[in-house]
Amino acid sequence: MRPGRRLLGVGVAACLAAQPGVCAELKDLYFGEALYHAYQGDFFDALQRLDTELAMYHGLDEPSRDTLTYHVGQAEFSVGDFELDYRMHLRAGRAIKAVLEGAVDEAVRNEAAYRLAKIHFEKGQLDDAVQALSRIQGKVPDAIRDDVEFLRANVDLAMGKPAEAVTVLQPLRSDANLSGFVAYNLGIALLEEGHADEAVRQLDAAGQLAASDDAGLAIRDKSNLVLGALLFESARYDDAKRSLDRVRLEGPFSNQALLRAGFAEAQAKQYDRALVPWTVLAEREPTDAAVQEAMLALPSAYASLNLHGRAAVLYGRALEQISGQLERVDASIESIRQGRFLTALVREEARQDEGWVIKLRNLPEAPETYYLMELMASHEFQTALHNYLDLEDLRAKLAGWKTGLDAFEDMIRLRGANYEPLLPEVDARFRDLDARMRLRLEQKKNVGKRLQAMLTAPRPEYLATAEERIDGERLTAIEKVAGADPAVARRVAHLRGVLTFRLRTEYHERLTAAFKDLEALNADLETLTKQYDDFVRARQAATQSYTGYDVTIQRLRRRVEDAAVGVDGLMARQGQMIETVAVHQLTARRDRLAAQQTEARYAVADSYDRAARAQAGEEAR
């Protein structure tokens, strides 16, 4: 049931093959509605609207006259985009392939190929990504030219072809949007190709690029961190330290950088200088792995400086903290096993924010998230979490639809109960009125025909008034009664002559008046026909409002129920998977903490011994 649309002239599809976002003026309200949902992150609703809209568009006899024609290229792309955003990569791939195989402009086809390649790359399907990239030929839209090359290089790198990646990345170094990522990846490609010195120079440059957004700053930090690690491995501790010092203290790589900076100083036997980053780090969030390492590294530096008393105190504190963290991890594992983690994940307020996973750790009833930051940052885990949330949404939707179908059935039953007793009487009256109306229409048609005929073959007697007709009949009757009386016959002939004279002289006026009357009747008939049509439509609507839905509703109910069972099953498995992975992660952290605890216990004892011996030595002196 597609609403009527403003018809378009042919050949105005200016945005037919436009890129998404290019066509400024919106010409199709339903496409605009799909965008409205998508811009709010409601991709399910956006997809539902747009899929319906496109299906209707393609089902039209003359789609070029539909308002979606203006946006159809953009709409086809948007479907793929929305599907990607709704984590439906398989369908997104199919949607984009459909664009690729359609009769579209070269630039559009190239963009579709790029998107397809990107999906394959993100899913680890590298051969498919290469194949999709190979379809990019000819004109590539300016907006994605560098992205295409960047993706090509990433695919090369992932396929173990660093030399090819270097060739692709080198000309891209000046692109403003990608500069940090290109510079970093180029450094990695050079490193993997075996050009360590060039890689160091490249990463050094990448670590000093100007950046303003979070992603740019993060990749710059990452460049410095990797460079620091490389230089550290090459025993270039001062250079490593300089690089690590460039990592922002408040960035996501800060803890790792501080830890490594301390190691760089310690390797150079500069234990007093190692104290600075490790002291800062040891005061940070104690659940972080780097912080926990620093808790032990810091007293070891004091011990290396022969400050065993201080070392013993700090080892003691580390032991206390690590033991506390062990308890916390155990509590987290227990909490996950009791299902609290999943409960915390589906909290409504957590969904309102893109960084909700990170903020979960602030929930007092979700202690398990303290140790899952690293895990939560992984692509697979993110996908699993989002899938779980999506399934929860689907579950709620399906439950709502089930209730909705009940309401529909109720409504249909009530409508039937209302109309069924009324309709037979309505139909009987309608049939009577219909017969009378048809008769009158037939009469009107005959009158019209007669009048038309009278234009060429005048028949004045047809236009006599009722009175004149009666007068004529009376004269005929008098003629019959009077017989051969000449006086009466003369008188009758005279009167008939007067009648005929009037009819003939007024003929044209009367004919015109008759046509006018017929015209007036036409207007009345038009009103009548409209009322008739309205009635027929209303009558049809009455029947259609409660008949013919049973099969559809039954089918939908079955589908909804089947889907609900499927969603419940998948939710259980997905939830279990998330819990299992989280428990694995926590168990690994627990093992490391247990090892650190043992290490700390020995170190405490050893430091106290050394401190005691040192004190005894001093006293002996």
Binding site: P20, L26, L35, H37, Y39, R87, S378, A384, K397
Partner: protein, 174 residues
């Protein structure tokens, strides 16, 4: 949809580039299982989307038959930076819809999205539509009521309200 690079993707991407570095926290068999589940989730999403489409068609047919259907859409004029607070809609003197806009909804309108504010039923013929628009343009709050007449024919009626801070509400009939 422009390029979006998140911190998380930087972290993940770095792992990918380092080759041998394992994906954080998830083992190979876990990854396989997650992948399998992901594909099943995608399939069920696809099924539910199909159901949603069919249900939406059924709902429209049952509740808003084309002979009486009227839908009112709201959009902002391109480039207008007004802060739309609320819209109240009356048809033939009867309040039929009102919306108070959240930040996300307003953002969506500013980006060019169109909100379907109301779907209902009216008889064929002339109808009066009243739109009360409240918001803020520049430093000044405004509240504006506009009156329109639209004609409902046999086919569904689509009415678009284009809102601007500097001019009266424009009505577009589709």
């Amino acid at each position: 949809m422009g390029r979006r690079v998140s911190i998380a993707s930087v972290l993940v991407f770095a792992c990918v580039l380092r080759g041998g570095v394992a994906r954080a926290g998830t083992g190979a068999s876990d990854q396989e299982q997650m992948k399998g589940l992901d594909e099943q989730v995608q399939e069920i999403k696809s099924d539910v989307l199909d159901i949603a489409q069919e249900l939406s068609r059924l709902e429209e047919k049952l509740l808003f038959p084309s002979g009486t259907q009227v839908a009112v859409f709201v959009e902002l004029a391109p480039g207008d930076t007004m802060r739309l607070d609320a819209v109240r809609l009356s048809i033939d003197g009867k309040l039929v819809a009102q919306s108070i806009y959240s930040f996300k909804e307003l953002e969506a309108l500013h980006k060019g999205g169109v909100q379907r504010l109301y779907v209902g039923n009216v008889s064929t013929g002339e109808h009066q539509l009243e739109a009360l628009v409240e918001g803020k343009a520049g430093d000044a709050d405004f509240s504006r009521t506009e009156h329109f007449t639209f004609r409902k024919e046999v086919k569904p009626k689509l009415v678009g309200l284009k809102l601007t801070s500097s001019a009266p509400v424009a009505l577009e009939e589709w």
